[in-house]
């Protein structure tokens, strides 16, 4: 069995700095430059240890009377270690890890093919991302302007855009930092563009929802539409961020998105379940009115509205009956 000695310099997120195949000759290890394996480690002795081949074909790491000895496991200090695949020994603050050169490896990851949908958003051109970051606030601002009914609404609109901007930057910052810490990728602009695009799309959808609520007040499930839109947004936005931040495959990303939406839904259901119905003397209804031409507004006749009222009365009578029980 061929063994490889990997050298991991001090530090928590150390990467392998060099590798040595163990051979028939002893391998000297220490801070001095006449060693075979020279360690830049102030906690290692000049001549700290030596790997000695054994007649039975194994190798043993022997301490040469060093100040700190050889570290094994958590805090154990030894003077002699038999090197087996998977073992790790510390010399000073340097870790030596033993690997089996012949151990099987998983197949190589496939590179995303250029020109297909698999192309990462992280590599979208900067002008496109910046374009999104400019257009999204404009969408939010124009939506605010369309609903402005008071003088001096400019300040208010600016405030809204600023608030959304800060939220998007925070959101993108969290994604970018998390990705940087875990996987070493930052891509802040791409994350910000995803957040901004989501806000813009939700703003437009909100307007469409209002129009729908006005045109079709009797549509069943209209009140659940907002919730469904929010869940869909989570299910789409999370995979997009993951695409930028990770190497996960398409299916895996969507799965995570679906799980995230599921968690949000569960939280909503729980909050709905624990919320107690407060009695309200205020009659609440969907008051949305849009100034579209009445020719475009589907309308009920007087008879239809009478039937609607009769249904309402039946509904209230049922409520009364259940209250009596």
């Amino acid at each position: 069995m061929a063994l490889i000695l990997e050298v991991l310099p001090p530090g928590r997120h150390a990467e392998v700095r060099e590798r040595h195949r163990l051979g028939d000759a002893p391998l000297t290890i220490g801070r001095a430059l006449d060693n075979v394996l020279v360690l830049d480690d102030l906690h290692a002795d000049a001549h700290h240890a030596r790997v000695e081949p054994q007649p039975d074909g194994t190798w043993v790491l022997v301490d040469l009377g060093s100040v700190n000895g050889l570290g094994v496991g958590r805090d154990e200090r030894v003077t002699r270690v038999v090197l087996r695949p998977g073992a790790a020994v510390t010399v000073g603050r340097t870790t030596l890890r033993v690997q089996d050169a012949g151990a099987p490896l998983p197949p190589a990851l496939r590179l995303p093919r250029a020109g297909t949908a698999g192309r990462s958003l992280a590599h979208a051109s900067l002008p496109v991302l910046l374009g999104v970051l400019v257009v999204a606030p404009l969408v939010v601002a124009s939506d605010g302007w369309l609903e402005a009914t008071a003088r001096g609404a400019g300040t208010e609109i600016f405030g809204t855009v600023l608030a959304f901007g800060v939220l998007v930057l925070l959101w993108a910052g969290v994604w970018a930092l998390a990705a940087r810490v875990v996987l070493g990728r930052f891509h802040f602009v791409a994350h910000a563009a995803i957040g901004a695009a989501a806000v813009a799309v939700l703003t437009v959808l909100g307007e469409l929802h209002g129009l729908l609520a006005f045109l079709a007040p009797a549509m069943p499930g209209a009140s659940q539409l907002t919730t469904a839109t929010a869940l869909a947004a989570v299910a789409v936005v999370v995979p997009l961020h993951l695409q930028v931040a990770t190497h996960l495959g398409t299916a895996a990303r969507w799965r995570v998105g679906a799980i995230a939406a599921g968690i949000v839904l569960a939280l909503l259901l729980v909050s709905h379940a624990v919320a107690t119905d407060e009695f309200s003397p205020m009659a609440e209804f969907d008051a949305t009115i849009r100034t579209v031409s009445p020719a475009l507004v589907p309308q009920e006749g007087l008879d239809g509205f009478r039937a609607t009222r009769a249904d309402l009365k039946a509904d209230v009578d049922r409520l009364l009956e259940s209250a009596a029980r």
Partner: protein, 436 residues
């Protein structure tokens, strides 16, 4: 148009605030030189016919409400206000009614009958009376001196001088305007002439000597009903109250808005106004930016209502009807901005007082409707009165559609109405709204 609530013990119910615009009552109007009984003589002669009524809350074994009552027959029948003893009627298990005798001893009494619409109740005190008021019509003229007796704020039996000022104009049933200080606790006491004839029963006040009496005729009618029933108490007073309210709203709403309705022109709209002579309408307008030459938008309001309101319990009343029109016009806002303003005003269209004990939650139906004169956004909100079968509170909100710079939000509010009347009035209401 709401009574203040909750009522502290013995509160005389304040009437709606609209009357506040009347000029201050000139006390000097009462002629000082005409011969009359000395007030002390009146008090000495009639005070033994008047007793304090108290409703004991059984869990605390202490007074929850106090009021006044007066004897009206030799066998110990007593007249008071329904609102004095309403707790007993609404929650009989938690309350009992007592009268306090001259020597301070409390005596349990029985509620024989109530007239919820006119706010009267007849009690039986369980002992014969040595002296009582005989109810009969009394001729009175505006300015006549009257004496009101009762227990203001449980301070002891008091006598108050005042003047008769005729019946209120804006109520469906007669109510006497008495200029004199009736205060909480005097509810149910009599207001009498110098020679001891009952003109009315103290019922409510707006403060500043603006007080109101239930006319003697209503008390006489209730007493006749008790007599016809053989002096037996009603099996279930809440059922009786429900029947009275049903009959009342039928008389009130049954023919409302029938025939050619009265219309007013408000901004670019034609709207219903003063649906009956008992209604009073008020109006006004407001610009969004008073300082600007051209406001962003203008809001005009036109509101019609009556002074009628039937007290059922501290947190429940009935028999109100109100029409509110609000007109929005703009020269500055674009179509989308006007739509946002219109939606925002429509959203805050409805609040009707009520508690979970007495009413169900609201349910609303929203539709775009082809009304006779214009397309509208129509919203009917409905809730049922839990203890008054067949009666509902309703709010009918209508917003006219079709203009980009003008809108009308109109609301009809009914409390304690039958479904048939609500449904019929919704149709009639839609007919009464149009563009000019």
């Amino acid at each position: 148009m709401r009574r203040a609530r909750p009522c502290p013990p013995g509160l005389v119910l304040p009437l709606a605030a609209l009357l506040a615009l009347l000029p201050a009552s000139p006390r000097a109007a009462a002629a000082q030189d005409e011969p009359r009984e000395a007030t002390s003589t009146v008090f000495a002669r009639y005070s033994e016919r008047i007793l304090k009524v108290q409703v004991i809350e059984t869990s605390s074994d202490a007074k929850g409400t106090i009021g006044t009552g007066f004897l009206v027959s030799a066998d110990g029948l007593m007249m008071t206000n329904y609102h004095v003893i309403s707790d007993r009627v609404q929650e009989p298990a938690k309350h009992r009614v007592e009268v306090v005798e001259a020597d301070g001893r409390a005596r349990p009494v029985e509620v024989l009958a109530v007239d919820v619409v006119h706010d009267l109740a007849v009690l039986r005190i369980g002992r014969p009376a040595t002296s009582w008021f005989t109810l009969a019509p009394v001729p009175v003229r505006q300015g006549d001196r009257l004496y009101s007796l009762g227990h203001p704020n449980d301070l002891g039996l008091s006598i108050v001088e005042g003047t008769y000022n005729g019946n209120l104009k804006h109520t469906l049933y007669p109510k006497i305007h008495f200029t004199g200080s009736i205060n909480p606790g005097m509810s149910g006491g009599p207001t009498i002439t110098g020679d001891g004839r009952v003109v009315g029963v103290n019922v409510s006040t707006m403060g500043e000597q603006r007080s109101f009496l239930v006319p003697e005729t209503q008390a006489t009618a209730l007493l006749a009903r008790v007599q016809a029933a053989g002096f037996r108490p009603a099996a279930d007073l809440t059922v009786e109250i429900a029947q009275q309210l049903t009959a009342y709203q039928e008389a009130y709403l049954g023919t409302l808005l029938e025939g050619a309705p009265r219309l007013a022109e408000v901004g670019p709209f034609r709207v219903l106004t003063e649906p009956a002579p008992v209604f009073r309408c008020w109006g006004g307008s407001e610009r969004s930016d008073e300082a600007e030459a051209e406001p962003t938008y203008t809001e005009i309001w036109h509101r019609c209502g009556t002074d009628d309101e039937v007290f059922i319990a501290d947190d429940q009343s009935s028999g109100t009807i109100e029409i509110v029109h609000r007109v929005l016009t703009t020269q500055k806002l674009n179509a989308a901005q006007f739509g946002a303003l219109y939606s925002q005003r429509f959203r805050f269209a409805g609040f009707v007082d009520g508690s979970e004990k007495h009413v169900t939650e609201w349910r609303c139906a929203v539709r775009n409707v082809r009304a006779p004169h214009t397309p509208v956004r129509a919203v009917l909100c409905l809730r049922a009165l839990k203890r008054m079968p067949g009666l509902y509170d309703a709010q009918f909100h209508v917003a006219l559609l079709g203009r980009r710079n003008a809108g009308l939000i109109s609301t009809l509010t009914l409390t304690g109405a039958s479904w048939a009347n609500i449904d019929r009035l919704a149709d009639r209401y839609l007919e009464g709204l149009a563009w000019r």
